[in-house]
Subunit: 163 residues, 10 copies
């Protein structure tokens, strides 16, 4: 619990640094070559800032102090307070995936076989587009590697006990 | 509860009809001009088959009997058994949206303002693409209308009590 | 969690400012041209004070300091502590909507079709009226835009992957 | 549990009788002088058909057999399966009341005093109106008697133990 | 949450004032003409001290400072931490009402009709009596107004939309 | 679970027998010398019909067949479906005891000491009285033996291991 | 909640006093003539130190200051954080009683009749014994008064309303 | 779920066989040399009837048919429906262990070290004794092997991967 | 739900076929070249029998009829009834992984980086070994592919919207 | 709760000491002769540092101050915040054991009999290996003593009441 409170306090500081910088997630994404959702995950400590990207990130958001840049490179505990599901924006997202869940599984099974869309080898982005009648629309794209369930052959299993 | 059991029994019959037809969701989607996820929602009774589409649907899936086609046109109760979250395919989807939820809300707020992505005026599709290293990848695209939170001005509120 | 605690602390300050002003929600609503429930939502940080209304709001509640007026213009995380459901006033409201829920859905479906009452394009007001026998009665009016469930035609889906 | 299953089976029969009658809730409401939500509650066994109304009800919905009309006059157990909250129509209603709950309590307290809106001496109706821009809107009106929390004076308490 | 913590801190101060006064709930009840359970509810901030009673209450418990007496006149949020159900005294009470619940409903329905015992127009008292074999017994008496479920006739519904 | 389903089926039969007898709980209570709530508990299989009372009970409710009278003498599993808490009558009862729980404990502690009101050596009755303004009121009386928490002296503990 | 935090802080101080005293629960139990589990309950504020025992307790644990001895004589709220069930020692205890629960009830019913083992008129002790093969074994002995479910005869019910 | 329903149906048959035999758990325990709680566990399918005991068990309860005796020798899934916790007998047992849990852990740690009471190498029995004032008392004795938490030395860990 | 009941019924049939074959999981594993845990998953419908293995599987378990072999090749919904966690064998496994979870994550992060052990590209086996003192020990080996969390570079994200 | 917060604060200090030491879990494990997972458990206060190992541990991690080394020798409350299950690394582990749980139980029952894998007499280690295609793989090995469910013979039960 101390861990989560420390994380939450750190996120508050990161968001303040972003606010001071005057940059949007999209602007930072463009400057760093990262997807916008991933940039937001970095500020929320839901992803690790990779060492090779730290310098570019600091350049894009100069208000991030060195200790914040360092803290962003720690491997995070990925977790959230379930109460955020009450917010309508977040609930609608949860609702869409829950109601479409079995259908999406059906199509993956049919087109790929017995496997899943990885949430680890994964890309997410959020875009603003115009609909047919000129209305604003939110487009969320999730791109995850297909992982087939392994058939567990003993000969392929490198983990064997010494006898 | 009787309602959900009846729905579940109906879904079983619909999926059997699809199996007998030998068609995939993608094939039916192509023939009917609907997104593949939406076609799957129709078989799972998570969406209503619109009267104007019924004929084309029957043509694409001839194994659907008339009473099934009629039943698909009823307005459904959209609901699911929470135990499906245990399946890895479905959990990964739920995990991705839950962990990215606050980030997606942040970007929507920044790019659109105080509002949400509608889950009603909504499109969903599932595609198979090749990654940079030739690996299979699942791409899920969600496209929802942006709805701004209304400022509730009394003069705009058409619902007034008679005095 | 830090976010919710900060919100809660802010709400305490906002309610104190209102108390000092000596104004009721109805009086503020009348002066600002907003519904009374929406005014209360603003004090509870369940809605965003729109920039165009900030000046009028400050005029109606002069005890709100500039930093509070500014804080009210941030986009809020809409959330509540589930323990408030224990309060009889709040429980009765929850009970009424839960017990009438399927009936209201039935009538919406019958009169409008397969769709919902939006909670985003939405107005709410609370009034005091006299009943037939002279008793005080509470009237709550909810006015939400009807949103039909979209039939997901591929041609209407503007979100397509580049190939 | 047996009770709820029996109730559920009865509701299925009642809804079939309504369907056969070809009448909408609004038509039945108009013919019987009841609110449309209350008529729906009667079909869902969430309210008791009063003996004085039974004849008019049978006249409005002739497909209701005598045993159904009799069953509708039993005092029901008012209950629902929590899974119905997953349906978007029902969730939006629940969301609206939950998010506005404290605000509505605040206004009741301010305008009436320390008390509640009764969910028992209560009216509910659902209407279709046109918004300012010609869009369809759902208006739900709840009208409940105000009940003040009693100050418990010993002299007013008629329940005293014999000594 | 801030609200509940503030309430909890206030209750601690109120109970300390009572302790300092050396008075029991029964003594305060006798001096103020209130039921003993209601007096306890006032100290726990589960009821509002009515202005007309404040003076007598202060006289009965002189250790209550003016700011406490004032705070007791605020309308409270009625809520409790569910963990208190673990205490055997509180659990037994909960167990008794839960196990007798359907029986009590049956008798109310049979003797009064389709309605409830109000928890708002309500009196509660706790007494110590001797049983047949001389043992101490606790007697709890609950006295609530009977509220019949309203038949919702359109003509009686004073809440009508202006057309 | 089988046990609870069997119990539920038995309760249905018992309530049908009562209905056929045309007797109310109060009439049966008067004829058998039992409290009315206890009579209802017997029909709900929440209490055991004592052998010495079986004959009088059968006389009061002649529609109870011998096998039912025998089944009522089995020791029951006392349990209920939590969904019954949704019914307003049952919820109000639960609400009253939950909100008054700490107050009632306080008074028991103050008047009796460190102990509880037993829910086993317990009487419950439901009565209809007239209030000061002629209104119908429900009075529920709970009468439970006071049980002090034992100080666990080793010399009083008769359960000792053989050494 | 404030109450539970205060309790928790007090327990910390009590356990520190015990640690400083260098005494084990068994030693304190022997010196005070109480069961060892009850002594531990006193340190955890799950039982009230009886006034007649306070002096002997202070003698056995001289590191307990006077204010701690006084605090131990307050009637406690008996409660625990459910997370302690995760500890293997505590889980095993919970598992044993849960899995044997119906069997123990069966035997009580068979040997005593329709009643329970009281958790109030109750003794608990923990002993270390040697098993048949010389292994250490934990023996927990629970000794509770048998309480028969009362048949609720109206003539025995001393709680009657004055008419 | 099918598994649990099959188990439940089997338990019903086993309890009927016991009822027909006219034997009590104590009588069967005495004849078979098993503890009474363990005998009850066998009938509830919470323990496996060991092959070496099957003959003696059949002799003690001749109404058990051969197929039942065989079914009792299957290794069971040990599980229970959580709703049984509502029964007062079972709840009291659960309450006692939950409230004493930390105290019992404290004493085990103090007397044995860092370890637990096993619920597997375990004995349970239920006895009827007379208290100091002649009252009936239930004594439950739990006797479990002490298991110390292992210090995990690499040299003692026989599970090593082949390299 | 219908899906899960159908699965459960199928598992019952599969386990009966295995029982009739007289083979153990280990024997079938040896004959088919699969890990023993994976063989058990196939009987529990937690894994898909791959077409290329079907013939060998049928040979190893000749009591499996053709329709069962075919049913085992369907892609399953991987799910379980949470009540199985009550069984001590299953709970111990759950306890071990829960209590070691953060430690295992720490070591993975330290030795591999920011990533996870895949549960999809995964092998599991269960072995019986002798401990240092000759005691039987269960060794469970889990072998999962390491998956690093992707840094989401826009240039690597093949899912781009057509513009 | 205070206990868990104190534990959490202590863990933070222990992890800081480890960080300062610059040592990995594997390095400390090698130097102390303990499994790597067990070393991590010591830093997370999920295991007790045994007195005989304290000196070697201090030598391996010199940044651990004496008071920390002493604190690590206290017997811990083994518990975790359930929110950690949201982290993908931890969830995958939980998923693997939950989905394989029944299969593992089946194999234990078949190979050992009616018993469990102990989580107390238990070893856990985490290793990095190369898969067949050169990929990194995580191997977790759990090694627990087999504990057979005891047949509860009265003559073996050393816990007998003195008569």
């Amino acid at each position: 619990m101390a861990t989560l409170q420390a994380k939450s306090a750190l996120v508050t500081r990161l968001l303040e640094a972003k606010k001071k910088s005057g940059k949007t997630y999209n602007q930072i994404a463009e400057q760093t070559g990262l997807t916008n959702a991933y940039v937001a995950q970095l500020f929320r400590r839901q992803a690790q800032l990779k060492p090779g990207t730290a310098k570019a990130f600091k350049a894009a958001v100069p208000t991030l102090t060195d200790d914040l840049i360092e803290a962003m490179q720690e491997i995070p505990l990925r977790a959230y307070d379930p109460i955020i599901l009450q917010d309508p924006t977040i609930y609608r997202l949860h609702e869409a995936t829950s109601h479409y869940a079995e259908s999406i599984k059906d199509i993956i099974n049919e087109e790929f076989g017995d496997g899943i869309m990885s949430a680890i080898g994964f890309y997410c982005s959020v875009e603003k587009v115009k609909g047919k009648e000129g209305e604003d629309r939110v487009v969320i794209t999730m791109n995850g590697k297909y992982l087939p369930h392994t058939e567990q052959k003993t000969t392929d299993n490198v983990a064997k006990l010494a006898k």
